[in-house]
């Protein structure tokens, strides 16, 4: 599904990624851990197509096609989703309006009929239940005045509404209390099936108590330096990164 080959990238003249290679197959859950500044968020942003990150070498293939030249909105249409570490607050834009615009934009891209107001509302109400939020939530401005947990639930709400094939979750677990963590983990688990893949970027193994990753990767200095099974996460939490 996703092939990252020898990816080098820089931002504002500074080289961040120094040859990342990673292969993700349908149904897999990959976890990327690593110290601050290792390039984890950069990798997530490069995958989603943020233009201030410049790819200097290597390639990213999604469904066997290079997506380096593809606009972020088209990557979303193709089935890629990024859950933001810091979701942006947008005063003045109603959350429902935003969600509807997003859902219909990807539906249009995928050649599906756009949802009218009634069908959209029906669909979104079901998804709201999954992330345990009430209706009033979608009538507020996007992320404006949301608590940390609400912002992350809103990200998961967007994910399950947009139906991506590959979800990149950038520190979706940070700043959450136990309840929110459980809700989000369940949201992800419910969405997971053998066609959908995930890349989870995290600092902590606690989220992994709720889910079954296939691989743990350690990203340091812009490279994947170690990969292993789930147990590697425990080891990293105990010993840190210096031993690698």
């Amino acid at each position: 599904m996703l092939e990252i080959k020898n990816l080098h990238a820089k931002v504002e003249g500074k080289q961040i990624l120094n040859g990342v290679s990673l292969s993700v197959k349908p149904g897999e859950l990959h976890v990327i851990m690593g110290p601050n500044g290792a390039g984890k968020s950069t990798l997530a942003n490069v995958l989603a197509g943020r233009d201030k990150f410049e790819v200097t070498e290597g390639d990213i293939q999604f469904n066997r096609e290079s997506i380096l030249e593809m606009l972020p909105e088209n990557r979303a249409g193709e089935g890629m989703f990024l859950s933001f570490q810091y979701p942006v607050a947008i005063p003045g834009v109603n959350n429902m309006y935003f969600l509807k615009a997003a859902v219909n934009a990807v539906r249009k891209y995928r050649g599906e009929d756009e949802l009218d107001a009634v069908n959209f509302l029906k669909m979104i109400r079901e998804k709201l239940k999954v992330v345990e939020l009430d209706d009033s939530f979608i009538h507020r401005p996007v992320n404006e005045g949301f608590s940390g947990g609400e912002k992350k639930r809103n990200e998961i709400l967007q994910m399950i509404s947009l139906q991506p094939k590959l979800s990149i979750l950038d520190e979706t677990d940070s700043g959450l209390d136990i309840d929110a963590l459980r809700v989000i983990a369940e949201g992800i688990n419910n969405y997971r099936n053998n066609e959908r893949a995930f890349i989870l970027i995290t600092h902590y193994q606690r989220m992994l108590n709720y889910m079954q990753p296939d691989y743990i990767h350690v990203l340091m200095d812009g490279k994947i330096v170690k990969s292993g099974p789930k147990e590697l996460a425990h080891e990293l939490e105990e010993k840190g990164y210096s031993w690698i």
């Binding site: 943020r50 201030k52 972020p72 909105e73 979303a76 933001f84 942006v88 934009a105 891209y109 947009l162």
Partner: protein
Amino acid sequence: MSFSNYQNEFKKLLDRKYFSAVIHPLRKDAFSKLEKIGFPTQKWENWRFTNLSALTENHFLISEVNDAPQSKLDISQYVIEGLQSIVIYNGHFQQDISSVPEGIQLLTGLEYFEHKKGQVSHSEDSPFDLLNTAFMDSGVCLIVDKNIIVETPVRILFISNGDSSIMVNPRVHIDMGMGSSLTFVEEHVGDAVSLFQNEAVYITLEKNSGIEHIRIQSNSENTYNMANLHVKQLEVSKYNFYQYSDGGNFSRSNIYVDLDGENSECNLNCLSLSRGNQHLDNSIIVNHNSPNTYSSQVAKSVLFDKSTGVFNGRTVVQKDAQKIVAHQSNKNLLLSKSAKMNSNPQLEIYADDVKCSHGSTTGQLDDDALFYFQSRGIPKNEAFILLVSGFVSEVMEKIKFEPVKNYIDQKINSWVA
């Protein structure tokens, strides 16, 4: 600065038969005062960022009889449901297509001056108020008597058309009696090739009265707009003002509010959308002359291309005006490197027990927000429209009369798109 064009026009005006000689003394007095002080220059504090040279370089002529419509006007393109309209065409009152809702007494021409026994000028008149008094067209006065709630909103529709370079000086007085209320819309439209519109509006609010005033300025791209708005408020009166401005080559609103009575409240909301070489400019002075008064100023501008904007907001709290609350907020969105905004919020406080806040921000569209929307599949141009609409939405949001709110929303959407 050459003033001779205006002097010539003033002489012409005094000779016109159809301008009543009854108010010549008033006009002459105003004009001679204006000749003494002259138009503002950029050395004047409130005019530092406002270039008025076009007003003296161009020769604007007073509107003639043949500038009035030659046949019955078609105003179907300006229909807003649920209101009644008074139509002014190039400064001429169009009686046959004008009507006012029940509860409003409409006085035109000289009637108002007789009603007020000639006491219509103000001691602190600014140059453009004086110019308006000197040249004023057939005025419109709306009187709402004590305890009358006017259910149907009224609009004055100012249409300025034609090929000649003309000057119009609309004059509006609104007197709100004790306990009365009104929704008043003024809309400025037309495709005049060259126009100088210098409007003066005087609103007085007696005790317990309220007015919702919506001003829509969508004049032709060659128009020079000057709006002079004076509001005087007595006890427990409420004034809500909404200005939507996207027209004209130059547009400046001078807004003066006097909160003279305790528990009076004003909410001033201005939205300016500019592109090309437009200059949209707002200058607000709110005087808290009485204790327990409330004021809020919210001004937002969105600027494309080489357009420029000004916000001067001044809130003055007089010595004995304790327990007042005043807010000022000016936020601007620059959508091009050549656009320019000058923002100057000021508080002048002479009392000690007050709650005041002011803030100003000017910036570009948030890249993070744009990427956030794109990452959700929303194409960049659509994301851009959503974000700009979102930025401006709060300013007109509280308009109570839905048809006008929707009318303005449509204008915003087509402007942004």
